[in-house]
């Protein structure tokens, strides 16, 4: 895992959701009132109220049997219309996977990561169109063939049709996903080269918060060593600069069962000069208890940087051979074991001399339920790159299946959301439009959201200005070949243009609230990097996002179908 997701704020999310739903409902109601007034005159608002009452009644009188009937009809339809042909495509793709994952010279060199990423990506991109097309084309086809007319002359609530359809597509997609994920699982287990098999794990990390001391020992920031990627900050060697992780809310009792602690790091080294080529940059770990003013470190806690150890397959012998030629036999591992009892030399000095002392990790060093770990670089003029996710407590691993199927689960949630959105869209537009609409939402939510967030952040923080301006201003600048820092001429046209641009950004800011964040559903990075898909950073937001759309979509779908004349030509 290279980037760290923040824990999901469920309460905030729910409040935001409530606000969004209320606003959307209010806007919907207002628009409904206005439209009804314009079309049927003074009777209009009464009709709207009437429709809402009926809606409430229909919602409360749904029958599970009817929903089930429509869902199972939907499944039969999908299977009898040979939708499972997609599975065949999938299997063929996997048979050909060798082509895409091939490494003709050296199949054994591949780490597990590309295999996992390939499988998850393939499943994602094969099930996505299935869900999309099924959900978006089902109802419109039903309406076009008029088979739905026969159905609605039965005592079926339109909400039942919508929900039944959604559940049916959901079930079909679920079956597809299940079959594919099982094949994929077997594929991964069989194809990952033997040397890389140990990478098929599910590490359970506990992340801490990170603060820095600068080279004078003052709280501050790390240094940028010129990397474009600002993910890591660097601390200078043999100065007072330090990176300090604080791990809070530790389950100490559970940790105690393991008689020690396992830390894992993925620090990066930056050398200002080559140094001794065969030797790694060293770093020192100091365990700190600020309450007891204990600072504990010893020679065992000085380690060599093991950069990018996951980015290539090393043979086990190379890792284990302490006399391995380079690195002067210094062990560079990404995992650091901290034993329960640690002996150190007390240099705090109030008793003068060096005194060997022994402390207990859990009793003396863990302060309440938090642990503070300070990391410093041990090589003069060399730098150690650190990021918040670069040091974590590694709890006992889980099996690979656990992280794999958790990723499949979030993918399932995504597919359900696609089915839901597609079904909803198909309640008010025809198949192609519904497909386009749903897919656009997906692309917006998955790929354009970061850019959108970035723009809006700039817009909000920068006095409602975006570098280069909004839509119209950008076009203007492009046409006139003005660079973004050139001043615009001061005239009313420009003012109007910028005013419109700002409104567009305001609209974007509003619409952003209703575009699902599909990024939450892509947890492949966790699995591919051998991490557990954690509850509060990955699973919870995915579940919350999917659930958030359920009620609004059902309502929207219901009213769209209800207010739609199916027979209109």
């Amino acid at each position: 895992m290279t980037t760290l997701q923040l824990p999901y704020d469920l309460l905030g999310g729910v409040l935001h959701w409530l606000a969004a739903v209320l606003v959307v409902c209010a806007v919907g109601l207002f628009v409904g009132m206005v439209v009804s007034l314009l079309t049927v005159g003074p009777r209009g608002p009464g009709l709207v109220v009437d429709v809402l009452q009926r809606g409430l009644h229909d919602m409360l009188h749904m029958s599970a049997r009817r929903i089930g009937a429509i869902a199972s009809l939907t499944m039969k339809e999908s299977f009898r219309k040979k939708a499972f042909a997609v599975l065949v495509v999938f299997i063929i793709l996997f048979l050909m996977a060798g082509f895409f994952l091939r490494n003709p010279e050296r199949p054994d060199d591949l780490p597990a990561k590309p295999y996992i990423a390939f499988v998850l990506m393939t499943i994602r991109w094969l099930t996505l169109p299935v869900a999309l097309l099924l959900a978006c084309w089902g109802l419109p086809t039903d309406i076009k063939d008029r088979s739905l007319h026969t159905v609605v002359t039965k005592p079926v609530r339109r909400s039942e049709i919508m929900i039944g359809r959604f559940l049916g597509y959901g079930a079909v997609t679920t079956i597809f996903l299940l079959v594919m994920s099982l094949i994929g699982y077997v594929f991964i287990n069989r194809s990952v080269p033997e040397l890389s098999q140990p990478q098929l794990v599910s590490r359970v990390p506990v992340y801490g918060s990170l603060t820095y001391l600068d080279r004078n020992g003052e709280p501050g920031e790390g240094v940028n060593t010129g990397d474009i990627w600002t993910f890591r900050s660097y601390i200078e060697g043999l100065t007072k600069a330090a990176a300090i992780w604080k791990f809070d809310n530790l389950d100490v009792e559970r940790l105690k069962q393991h008689d020690g602690l396992r830390l894992e790091n993925r620090f990066e080294a930056f050398r200002t000069y080559k140094g001794v080529i065969g030797q790694p940059i060293m770093f020192r770990i100091t365990l700190v208890n600020p309450t007891k003013k204990l600072r504990v470190t010893n020679g065992d806690l000085v380690k060599g940087v093991a950069e990018f150890s996951e980015e290539r397959q090393r043979s086990a012998a190379l890792e284990e051979d302490p006399a391995a030629e380079s690195f002067g036999g210094l062990r560079t591992e990404s995992t650091i074991s901290i034993p329960r009892t640690i002996t150190y030399i007390d240099v705090s000095g109030d008793r003068g001399g060096d005194q060997a002392k022994t402390v207990d990790l859990f009793d003396d060093l863990i302060d309440g339920n938090s642990l503070t770990v300070e990391v410093t670089c041990q090589d003069r003029d060399q730098y150690l790159g650190t990021a918040q996710s670069d040091l974590f407590i590694r709890l006992p691993d889980r099996g690979f299946a656990s992280t794999y199927f958790k990723s499949i689960f979030t993918m399932w949630l995504m597919l359900m959301l696609i089915c839901l959105l597609g079904t909803t869209a198909s309640c008010f537009v025809k198949g192609p439009v519904a497909t386009l609409l749903t897919f656009s939402l997906f692309m917006l939510g998955e790929h354009l959201r970061p850019q959108m967030d970035h723009l809006l952040k700039q817009f909000n923080e920068n006095d409602r200005q975006v570098l280069g301006g909004g839509v119209l201003e950008s076009v203007y600048r492009i046409v006139l070949q003005m660079n973004p820092s050139q001043e615009l001429p001061d005239n009313p046209a420009m003012t109007i243009m910028q005013w419109i641009d700002r409104r567009v950004f305001d609209m974007l800011g509003i619409f952003r609230n209703v575009i699902p964040n599909f990024e939450y559903f892509n947890t492949a990075a966790y699995t591919a990097n051998g991490f557990d898909v954690s509850w509060n950073t990955a699973l919870l937001p995915a579940i919350a996002t999917a659930l958030a759309y359920l009620l609004p979509c059902v309502l929207l779908g219901y009213f769209s179908l209800q207010l739609r004349e199916l027979e209109a030509k």
Partner: protein, 468 residues
């Protein structure tokens, strides 16, 4: 809609279809046999221009099918992948980067920049990011393996094997990590997997990296000679010199390796180096010097062409002999022809080889064995032989011609002199400046003073206990 009935409209469509089929068939008919000048115009032209997939290099079915599947979107897909590759490089996901590069290759297998750029990426950029030297070597190797495939996929492009030569020779042999890399090239650090031998993918015969580079350069020359694809990397005479120059590199490296080699291996190392120099001397003059090449403006030339030969070229190119002679000399200077010729001759001498060996032995005795008497003796003998060689090859710049031409040699001698003087000092018999010690002429040469000063300072630092 219009006056035509459905049937008539269909007939019109059919007519248009048939009319369009004629040019399609004329242009696009596939060849009747695998590779021949048959079939439609496109296929004939493809054969004539050697553009067929099979004639360009190894066929990769996945790549071909990939291009088909993407229909017209190949360019867009390739662009997205290039962007993705850069993103992955930025976020340091090397294995993913490699995958992405593989995918790019599926789309653009005959675009040599892909191979070059991404090989460079892996060999230089990725490897430099790693801290562990084996990891660095691993990525150097990955880049090289990658390029090897490019060489196979594109059998007429001379630049690709030339690049492979550069990576095998210069990257491995001149990096700061060269000591490790050169060793790893013959004995891969992953001993378990490669049974203590080389990684066959980069070094199938387990030879020295410079010799491997020589093979690559030779292949590049062969391809350039074929002339199907031009190389645009450098002027032809320079390009063509590389196989021979890697032999120089190899011999030099052998001599340098001796410093840290086991004592019993030293004589054989020097013998081998001497043989290589002799071989290089032969090739440099009899093959490279005789090579006839044609370049723009200057026409046909030979680096070491005689006046009669050049006169013929001059007549053919409608130039004067004087012009040709000027061009020839200019090229001789550009490629350092005379310098290397002399250097090879010097180094091929047994006396020179012995001189090098003795200086290395002296250094070992001084540094490792602390045997000052032995060291003094070895240095003196070595320097004497050196002096004799210098005298033999004295030229217009006097007795120090060799040292002036070859600063590395000068450095070697100056270092030896510093150590020699130090041994004399330690033995209680410091060198008297008026005494006629061997190679004195270099020590007092005004041209050499700045170099001497620099090396002396370095020596003093080293003696002061700093190993840098």
């Amino acid at each position: 809609m219009n006056a035509l009935s459905t049937r008539n409209r269909k007939l019109v469509y059919m007519g248009i279809v048939l009319a369009l089929l004629v040019p399609i068939i004329y242009l696009g008919q596939p060849p009747t046999t695998g590779a021949s000048a048959s079939g439609g115009l496109i296929s004939r032209m493809r054969f004539e221009e050697d553009l067929g997939e099979a004639s360009l290099g190894d066929v990769d079915p996945a790549s071909t099918s990939m291009s088909l599947v993407l229909l017209g979107l190949r360019g867009i897909a390739a662009n997205i992948l290039w962007m993705q590759a850069e993103e992955e490089k930025m976020t340091k996901q090397w294995s993913q980067l490699e995958r992405t590069v593989e995918s790019i290759l599926l789309l653009q297998p005959h675009f040599q920049s892909v191979w070059k750029f991404q090989c460079w990426n892996l060999t230089y950029n990725v490897s430099a990011e790693c801290d562990a030297v084996e990891d660095r070597y691993f990525w150097v190797k990955r880049g090289l393996i990658f390029l090897t495939r490019g060489v196979d996929r594109n059998r007429y492009i001379p630049e690709l094997p030339h690049d492979a030569g550069d990576f095998s020779g210069k990257k491995i042999g001149r990096a700061d990590e060269r000591e490790f890399y050169r060793k790893f090239f013959v004995v891969d650090p992953d001993r378990e997997r490669f049974n203590g031998g080389p990684d066959k993918a980069v070094n199938p015969d387990g030879i020295d990296n410079y010799l491997r580079a020589r093979e690559w350069y030779q292949l590049a020359n062969d391809r350039a000679d074929l002339g199907k694809v031009q190389q645009h990397k450098m002027d032809f005479p320079l390009f063509f010199a590389y196989p021979y120059r890697s032999l120089f590199d190899y011999a030099t490296a052998q001599q340098q390796d001796a410093v840290n080699a086991p004592l019993e291996d030293i004589p054989s190392l020097f013998q081998d180096a001497q043989q290589r120099w002799a071989e290089a001397a032969r090739e440099w003059t009899s093959i490279y010097g005789r090579k006839v090449f044609t370049v723009p403006i200057f026409g046909t030339l030979q680096i070491d062409g005689t006046e009669e030969e050049l006169a013929q070229f001059a007549a053919a190119d409608n130039m004067s002999l004087e012009q040709k002679l000027v061009f020839r000399d200019r090229y001789q200077n550009t490629v350092g022809y005379r310098f290397w010729k002399t250097r090879c001759e010097v180094e091929a001498e047994t006396e020179m080889s012995d001189a090098h060996r003795l200086l290395v032995e002296g250094r070992r005795k001084y540094e490792r064995d602390q045997d000052m008497v032995g060291a003094e003796e070895a240095y003196r003998e070595g320097l004497l032989k050196m002096q004799s060689m210098f005298q033999k090859f004295a030229g217009e710049f006097g007795p120090n011609q060799l040292g002036i031409d070859d600063r590395d040699l000068a450095e070697e001698v100056i270092k030896a002199l510093i150590f020699y003087r130090s041994t004399r000092e330690l033995l209680g018999n410091p060198v008297d400046e008026n005494e006629d010690y061997p190679m004195r002429q270099l020590w007092i040469d005004p041209e050499m003073q700045s170099q001497i000063k620099e090396l002396l300072e370095k020596f003093q630092r080293w003696q002061g206990g700093l190993t840098t």
